[in-house]
């Protein structure tokens, strides 16, 4: 059996699964120290299912801790950045587009060195070992021991980043190194930003992963545990300590993956309707589609593997106003159970509309009996339209596709959604997040520029696929389960010499021992 845990900002959910079956689940408030919330969820989960700790083979955890740390500028450590690219890149030093407060929080330590590669693999300038040693010594003198290393076109050739890392490790024994080519894709500033954010989260990652480890130990669960990543795949706890940035945005991803699992549908639009907002994202092969534009985290541009999620102001607590009819974006939020009409309050909410229309049954429906039926119908139609528009916005082709509804607010949708081939409301939608964590797979991807001087396009594509497959196997996938789920090619405009950028992603089931 295995356990999925979602440590959200409000609730900690845990779900026990046997293979692909949900055995039991438990929901408890998230605690300030995280550990006791998890311990409480696990204790109750095992107690109510009768399972023994020794029967648990794997634990998968989803957490928003690291995103929040950056957004709130809390518990970040000092970090330095070494960039190899001189004489190129000097015009735009590291962290140039960061919010100044965040840059200052982590010390604004950056160094430029010679090296890096051209798009076709030639070096920009030779690697200079003494230069890197000198920089490493300056960093050591400052007492900084978490270092991000970036190099121009390192997704094409990682050699300079790795040589620099080796030298820094020699000069600063025990230093934490965050290497940009292991973290991001083409786009130097964005990839480097991610590496630096990773560097300033390394201490926190050790602490958090350790507290997870502690909770499991207290529960006498002696199983490997994994942390979910923003692309819906898992990383091992050891890996998570090294790459905390990969947890960014794993929350919406897990809810979408959970929806895919609960419904059994892999190509669909997921609509997660909460109390205040709804998130809409598209599932492709059971995984969220990634955003193609730069995504900001805490004011910093990144090019992470982030789900492309559209959020809008519709939830079960959204305010409904008349003349003219207006729904949201304001919401009574967690006060729904005291402020909504059906709960004895005096605020007209979307939940009141659903109950008045007879599509949902909770609270006291007598309290909304006096609402004008025509108005109730108009409001319900408007809600329906809002969801249909959001679904349409996120579609990648005009063809109708299934829509999966999850979240407490999904009661608002009672009719077929325009543009949807069917509307699915799965059971157990309340713990879609934790289930999403529990069923996550492992993935690997390639994103780099191939010069087509010596390779044909097909050879380049094969090479890209092979690299992605090697990465997914290294991440712990069951060899037989590996498949390529995404292939994207972007030709490079303006240059007559042929080069192409390939983005390939492979996934596989996690090998679970026992």
């Amino acid at each position: 059996m295995h356990i999925g845990i979602d440590v959200g900002s409000t609730n900690t959910d845990a779900v026990l699964m046997k293979g692909t079956q949900v055995v039991s689940w438990y929901k408890t408030p998230t605690t300030h120290d995280v550990t006791s919330g998890i311990t409480s969820a696990l204790t109750n989960l095992l107690a109510q299912s009768g399972a023994k700790p020794s029967q648990v083979n794997a634990v998968m955890i989803g957490t928003t801790h690291f995103t929040n740390a950056v957004v709130e500028r809390r518990r970040l450590s000092q970090a330095a950045c070494i960039r190899l690219g001189l004489p190129a890149t000097a015009a735009l030093p590291p962290m140039i587009d960061w919010p100044p407060d965040l840059r200052e929080t982590i010390g604004n330590h950056w160094y430029l060195a010679h090296g890096g590669h051209e798009f076709d693999g030639r070096v920009i300038m030779p690697f200079d070992e003494q230069e890197i040693r000198g920089i490493a010594r300056q960093i050591r003198a400052k007492g900084v021991d978490s270092i991000a290393i970036s190099a121009v076109f390192s997704p094409v050739d990682q050699a300079h980043e790795h040589r620099a890392a080796q030298i820094v490790a020699e000069e600063i024994p025990g230093a934490d190194l965050s290497i940009s080519s292991e973290i991001g894709r083409i786009g130097l500033l964005e990839r480097e930003n991610a590496a630096i954010m990773n560097a300033c989260l390394r201490d926190l990652a050790k602490a958090i992963v350790n507290s997870f480890r502690q909770s499991l130990k207290e529960m006498q669960i002696d199983a490997p545990f994994y942390i979910s990543q923003n692309d819906g795949t898992l990383m091992s706890a050891d890996y998570a300590e090294k790459y905390p940035v990969f947890t960014f945005a794993s929350g919406p991803t897990n809810s979408m993956r959970g929806a895919a699992f609960l419904s059994g549908v892999k190509e669909a639009m997921v609509v997660d309707i909460g109390g205040t907002t709804s998130d809409v994202g598209m599932l492709v092969h059971g995984f969220p589609r990634e955003a193609s534009l730069a995504v900001q985290v805490g004011g910093v541009r990144t090019n992470f593997r982030m789900p492309d999620v559209y959020s809008f102001g519709l939830g079960g607590g959204s305010l409904v106003r008349r003349d003219p009819l207006l729904i949201g974006p304001q919401s009574v939020g967690y006060e729904l159970t005291s402020k909504a009409l059906i709960f004895g309050g005096d605020v007209l909410t979307t939940s009141d509309i659903a109950v008045a229309a007879g599509v949902a049954d909770f609270g006291d429906k007598q309290r909304v009996a006096g609402l004008d039926p025509a108005f109730v119908q108009d409001a319900l139609d408007r809600i329906q339209t809002m969801v249909a528009e959001a679904v349409d916005r996120m579609k990648t082709s005009a063809a109708p596709i299934p829509v999966i509804l999850v979240g407490g607010g999904s009661v608002l949708i009672s009719k077929p959604v325009q543009g949807a081939s069917e509307v699915i409301k799965p059971e157990n939608y309340a713990v879609a997040n934790a289930i999403g964590a529990a069923i996550a797979q492992v993935g690997g991807e390639t994103d780099r520029v191939f010069s087509l001087e010596k390779l044909t396009r097909d050879q380049a594509l094969d090479q890209a696929k092979q690299e992605a497959i090697e990465k997914v196997l290294a991440a712990g996938a069951e060899p037989g389960s590996v498949q390529i789920v995404e292939v994207e090619e972007v030709p490079l405009a303006y240059l007559p010499s042929s080069a192409i950028r390939m983005h390939v992603k492979a996934i596989g089931d996690l090998r679970i021992e026992g």
Partner: protein, 369 residues
């Protein structure tokens, strides 16, 4: 705007923000994202550089002036970031070749990332940037500009790479050859380079340049930013400023792209927000032709730009995707691009389309020399 020799426009960082946004709208989907250029200019200004701009009519007739810009692939541009002085290095190389100083520079292209080129060189070196360019929009090739159309030789031209290596192309048969040679050198330099071209007199520049386009880009950026704050319609504000129109409002329902001969060619279909009207757009790095229900309603060299429906952010042809909700702006180009001679360089036939140019209604909002 009235200026004299001692009354330069000292561009502020906030104006740079507006110019970059306006330049994106004038970029007609191509020209590269001005984001990195904006950061570069800001960084130069933070280090004490002050870009100075002069109106074209204030440049002395006998003064020497060159066009500046960056060459290369946007994907290289976002990875191998600029050393900073590639364009300045090219200007200096050209000066060395000519044996004479070049005190004035002008951007070759106001649309997209090259819009800020003259300002960057100005901030770095004290040379004066001229308020104008050679396109009044973006185009993919060196010969597609008003200097070439006006018969001003592109050579000598210099390219300079991130290492400070530079070379001069002193003689070419025509601008197409200049494009080929400079591009081949740029590939060897790693896919991007700084470019300085032409040795023009002030009088020649005044005759051939598109005037006041930095001011126009700034104004365009400002109205869009103001419309966002006031929650007005930014697309409409942009169209009005350009004496243009909103050709269409809708969402992208189909995108196809392929690369041939160094061009990203493609086709785009949009469907109206209400009703079943469709708009088709042909793309070759830039948006070139808009057809509504099969009928051509706007065509190059007039400007066709997609902006996001919500905030009027220009949408580059590289980030087009299904579902994006946009307004399509149709804006009249400068009359300099509408002459019979100009259309041979930048009209639909120059891009391989067997259709005639039909000018959009409305008058180019800039001064016409």
């Amino acid at each position: 705007m009235s200026q004299n020799h001692h009354d330069y426009w000292n561009v502020t960082p906030d104006e740079v923000e507006s110019i970059a946004l306006g330049a994106g709208i004038l970029g007609t989907g191509g020209g590269g994202n001005p984001y990195l250029g904006k950061l570069r200019l800001w960084e130069t200004m933070k280090r004490g550089g002050r870009p100075k701009v002069i109106s074209p009519d204030q440049v002395p007739d006998e003064a020497r002036i060159s066009t500046v810009g960056g060459m290369g692939a946007p994907t290289v541009g976002i990875e191998r970031l600029s050393q900073g002085e590639e364009m300045l290095g090219a200007v200096k190389m050209l000066e060395q070749h000519l044996g004479a100083p070049i005190p004035y520079v002008i951007s070759g292209e106001i649309g997209g990332s090259n819009s800020l080129s003259a300002l960057i060189v100005s901030a770095q070196s004290g040379r004066i940037a001229v308020d104008g360019d050679g396109m009044g929009r973006a185009f993919p090739e060196l010969q597609m500009n008003t200097f070439v159309i006006g018969g001003i030789p592109v050579a000598p031209l210099a390219v300079c790479d991130v290492r400070g290596q530079s070379t001069v192309v002193s003689h070419v048969l025509n601008a197409r050859w200049a494009e080929r040679i400079a591009c081949a050198v740029t590939v060897q330099m790693g896919g991007s380079s700084g470019l300085a071209a032409r040795s023009m007199t002030g009088a020649e520049m005044k005759r051939a340049a598109v005037w006041d386009t930095l001011t126009l880009a700034k104004k365009l950026g400002e109205v869009v930013r103001q419309a966002r704050i006031r929650r007005d319609d930014p697309a409409l504000a942009a169209a009005d400023t350009m004496n243009g129109q909103i050709l269409f409002r809708g969402k992208i329902v189909d995108v196809t792209r392929r690369t041939t001969a160094g061009f990203a060619r493609g086709h785009l279909r949009l469907r109206a927000n209400s009703g079943s009207d469709e708009l088709d757009i042909d793309i070759q790095n830039e948006n070139l032709i808009a057809r509504r229900d099969g009928e051509v309603i706007a065509v190059v060299p007039d400007l066709i730009t997609l902006v996001t429906e919500d905030d009027g952010e220009p949408v580059g042809t590289e980030v087009l995707r299904y579902g994006l909700r946009v307004a399509v702006l149709g804006m009249p180009c400068t009359p300099q691009l509408r002459t019979e001679t100009a259309l041979q360089f930048v009209g639909p036939r120059a891009f391989g389309y067997e259709i005639d140019y039909k000018p959009l209604a409305g008058r180019w909002p800039g001064r016409v020399n």
